[in-house]
């Protein structure tokens, strides 16, 4: 079948509005006379509030309310935007008497403008009893300070946690007997790898406004990736029936997972409920860094064993993860560390993967693109690169020898079958593009500069198997155009566009005839949200189903109008006609008009849901070329090639930019980004000055190519692209640095200092 819209580089539907600076984001739409809400935050990493005096502050002219722990519902909840019942523990109150990290909310202040709010914030007197904070995640387990001793701590099911030991979650997964398998191996490599907490740093910080509508329902307009989870959690945390909450998502200025956790929603919501007035909160950049969520910091220990010919026979991995003060996404991110890295090498291997996630008194971690797979990829791929050296094998060949094959079951990937994979082609294409033959392992530039190249491969998933669900409604309107209603959230990723492409393909009509509705929990069909790389694959399939149904309905209604047997009716996008007498036809316009009003109307809409039992992995091979100054350790990525198998590429431009952006973030993680705390638990880099994300001059011109496989379970053969693209830079750059200098850096970020120190050893 020749595709007209899918697989084409179609511009984004909202492109002109976005580049035209239109007021389409949350803050641009705030109603006038909205109360300004700000949060007074804890300056201590771990403390109990002795007393709060707010009487003087309340008298500041313009202040409408100041709420402290005594004024808010005491209902435990999690902020994680996950399907109910969430695997994350219910370990939060909106405001609590105990504060568990620097930045934990202490009071909510609302007033007429930011000046009066700032003045009142300065006048609230809080006395704390300081507790001994747990700041080092390697010391957290069984630490004398217990971060969550509360009696109403709750989880829906056992995730192996034990809060009295500061343990959020733990577990293990094994296949075969890894100990004996390791013993039987010719060669074993072993290493401990550290990855840091990184900030998602989307350009639009967290923000929300709220108001009561004419039915006194709470309306929440928020920059969120998970409107439906938001609705549920807001209702639960505020003790409201779900029907009393409506969540609307405008355009979003980036999310990368940060907005898969509720961050800013509850504060203005509570103010609106208490005052009856509209309220807004806009996080400062500093607040966004210090009081939201980040990537989980991890320590991953890996042991890999192989036979002399390169066959990998054993993989043993243990991961320790720092949840920070609250357990959002704790048990799920850690799972991906092993489940998205080991399957690439477990074809003939016994394996074991075990994990612990601990609480500390640092900002809670959450979801960040890659979601654990990124951390696992750094450890696993680094170990594979070391193994290649020990085996004296080319690292690309070592991978090609061990990769899983289409048709096989992957024991390390929830026993799912591998239904599509072009990773070997990705590797070969990437080697060509980077110039592997000529440049591996390194080339001297002059007496103190060397260029090295390195590689890594990775996989992700396409949605969470048997959990992520997308529903889609498509309506035929009176003059023959369609409204596509989705609950998936476009956060810049272009999902509105690619889902419309799929609809246009099935309905055989120009893109202009399809309008896509933004998410509004009152109108949109249910969707778990945009995360876990689920939208193209899961919601996309729902689009295909709904549009196919609608197409059949149109043909059937056309047949009725034409008085022919439905079997003979054919719909070509513009008209329904009689296959045997094509001149007998009715245009879609006419048909649509007759369907909405007049005699025997039958307004056509179709709704379909989709939930996939499997999560077919997209793959990527990443290749880095770095130049290292041996005297200073200064390292620059001079070339980066990423070759991606995301199945059928639905929109090459959008997929390419996603890949380039993901790689750029990965390079930031590899070389620059590192959230740090001082000895008292205060985050020290909470501005773009101190927490550097890559700017134009830090990056090479990233090169991306696609090797398309065809995923039989995906819409038009598509899988996912959103997350897989962030994983390879850290291990590939570490490998390139090793090839240039002989120094193995096991802890991110890879800094000049670490390279120089390694050279001295």
């Amino acid at each position: 079948m020749k595709l007209k819209f899918v697989n084409q580089p179609i511009p984004k539907l909202d492109g002109a509005a976005l580049t035209g600076g239109k007021g389409v984001y949350t803050e641009d739409m705030v109603p006038r006379d909205c109360l300004v809400v700000q949060v007074l935050r804890s300056p201590h990493a771990f403390a109990r509030i002795k007393s709060i005096r707010k009487d003087a502050a309340s008298r500041v002219p313009g202040i409408s309310c100041i709420l402290t722990w005594e004024d808010v519902p005491q209902i435990r909840y999690t902020l994680a935007g996950q399907s109910y019942p969430e695997p994350s523990p219910y370990d939060r109150y909106i405001l609590e008497r105990v504060v568990r990290y620097v930045g934990d909310p202490v009071a909510i202040v609302a007033g007429r403008d930011k000046d009066c709010v700032a003045k009142a914030m300065g006048m609230i007197q809080v006395k704390y009893d300081l507790l001994n904070p747990v700041l080092d995640f390697e010391q957290a387990l069984d630490h004398p300070s217990v971060i969550h001793p509360e009696e109403d701590y709750f989880h829906h099911y056992d995730i192996g946690g034990n809060p009295s030991r500061n343990l959020v979650a733990s577990g293990s997964d094994a296949h075969g007997d890894v100990e004996s398998a390791l013993e039987a191996c010719d060669v074993v490599v072993e290493g401990t790898y550290y990855t840091k907490a990184n900030a998602q740093a989307m350009m639009e910080t967290f923000r929300t406004y709220t108001y009561l509508d004419h039915n006194r329902r709470l309306n929440v307009v928020s920059s969120t990736q998970v409107p439906f989870h938001c609705r549920r959690t807001i209702a639960h945390a505020l003790g409201l029936p779900k029907g009393m909450v409506r969540v609307v998502k405008p355009r979003i200025g980036g999310g990368f997972g940060a907005k898969q956790t509720l961050v800013s929603e509850l504060f203005p919501a509570l103010v609106t409920l208490r005052t009856g007035k509209p309220a807004k909160i806009v996080y400062t950049r500093k607040e966004s860094f210090q009081a939201s969520n980040s990537r989980h910091q991890m320590r991953v220990h890996v042991k890999v064993g192989a036979m002399q010919d390169g066959t990998i026979k054993a993989v043993d991995m243990h991961a320790l993860s720092n949840a920070g003060a609250y357990g959002e996404h704790a048990s799920t991110t850690i799972g991906l560390v092993g489940h998205k890295s080991i399957p690439l090498y477990a074809r003939q291997a016994d394996f074991r993967f075990s994990w612990d996630v601990v609480y500390t008194n640092t900002m809670a971690a959450g979801a960040f693109r890659g979601y654990g797979a990124t951390q696992g990829c750094f450890a696993m791929e680094s170990a594979i690169n070391e193994l290649a050296v020990k085996l004296n094998m080319d690292p690309a060949q070592l991978r090609l020898k061990n990769l899983p094959q289409v048709g096989e079951t992957m024991p390390a990937y929830y026993n799912e079958p591998l239904t599509s994979c072009a990773l070997p082609q990705c590797i070969r294409r990437g080697m060509e593009l980077i110039g592997w033959q000529e440049k591996y392992p390194c080339v001297k530039v002059d007496d103190h500069r060397v260029r090295g190249i390195g590689m890594a491969v990775t996989m992700q998933g396409s949605g969470i198997s048997a959990v992520d669900t997308g529903a889609v409604t498509i309506k035929l309107n009176d003059d023959g155009y369609y409204t596509l209603m989705i609950g998936a959230t476009d956060m810049g990723t272009g999902c509105d566009t690619i889902l419309a492409q799929m609809a246009a393909e099935i309905l055989d009509c120009p893109m202009e005839r399809i309008t896509v509705d933004g998410v509004d929990t009152d109108h949109s069909p249910f969707d778990t949200g945009s995360y876990a790389s689920s939208t193209t694959y899961v919601t996309g399939t729902a689009v295909v189903k709904a549009c196919t149904q609608l197409k059949e309905q149109i043909a059937a209604e056309g047949a009725r109008r034409l008085n022919i047997h439905p079997e003979r009716a054919e719909f070509d996008g513009d008209k329904v006609y009689d296959r045997t007498h094509p001149e007998t036809s009715i245009t879609l316009c006419k048909l649509a008009q007759s369907l909405v009003a007049g005699v025997g109307p039958q307004w056509l809409t179709a709704t379909a849901s989709h939930c996939s039992p499997t999560s077919p992995p997209p793959f990527m091979a990443g290749f880095a070329e770095v130049e290292v100054d041996l005297e200073t350790g200064e390292t620059k990525v001079v070339d980066y090639v990423g070759v991606v198998d995301c199945g059928t590429v639905v929109n090459k431009n959008l997929a390419r930019v996603q890949a380039e952006g993901g790689i750029a973030q990965g390079i930031g993680m590899a070389l620059l980004e590192d959230i740090n705390y001082d000895p008292k638990g205060q985050m020290v880099n909470s501005t773009f000055m101190q927490y550097k994300i890559p700017c134009r001059t830090d990056l090479p011109e990233i090169r991306v190519d696609f090797e398309e496989s065809y995923e039989p379970n995906g819409p038009f053969g598509a899988k996912s692209i959103g997350e897989v693209v962030i994983n390879t830079p850290s291990p590939a750059i570490a490998h390139a640095v090793y090839n240039a200098t002989g120094v193995r850096v096991h802890s991110l970020p890879i800094t000049a200092e670490k390279i120089l120190m390694g050279r001295e050893d």
Partner: protein, 157 residues
């Protein structure tokens, strides 16, 4: 204090707080293309022109704009849309939040530099952060635009 600020040709005769920044002033009067991405003058999202030169409106006191001509994206709509089409042709606007500031910097660069080298371009635009795109799409859009020179055909300044 009292100021007279001209925004995109429209004069605003207003009382403002002494510490108001130009960014807040502009957003207050509906110029929503002007975005804030940081509190430390590091992101470039708030880029507008004062007397035709790009400035960071987040750290430019509105008081200093007294008597001056300010241009926001709304004031160079056509030209911005023309460059915007090069962006959307690449999919280089992802979330789009950085786009207005970036576009204001690009249009200023075009006026300031003749036939800039790649190096000069990336230095000129280094202060405009984008977290989504990895910049490569922006660079492709720029190259195509600089090559086509649509402003000559469209008779723009």
């Amino acid at each position: 204090m009292k100021v007279k600020i001209t925004v995109n040709g429209m004069l605003y005769n207003k009382h403002i707080p002494n510490d108001m920044m130009l960014l807040e002033f502009l957003r207050k009067y509906g110029y929503v293309s002007v975005k804030r991405g940081c509190d430390t003058s590091n992101c470039g999202l708030c880029t507008v022109w004062v007397e035709g030169k790009p400035v960071l409106s987040c750290s430019y006191p509105a008081a200093r704009a007294d008597g001056k001509q300010i241009t926001t994206l709304e004031g160079v709509k056509e030209e911005a849309a023309s460059f915007g089409r090069y962006m959307t042709a690449q999919g280089a606007e992802q979330c789009g939040y950085c786009s207005p500031g970036f576009i204001m910097a690009v249009l200023a660069m075009r006026r300031e530099l003749t036939d800039p080298t790649e190096e000069e371009i990336s230095q000129y635009l280094a202060g405009n952060l984008c977290r989504c795109s990895g910049y490569a799409g922006q660079t492709r859009a720029l190259r195509a635009w600089l090559k086509d020179k649509p402003w000559e055909k469209e008779g723009q300044a």
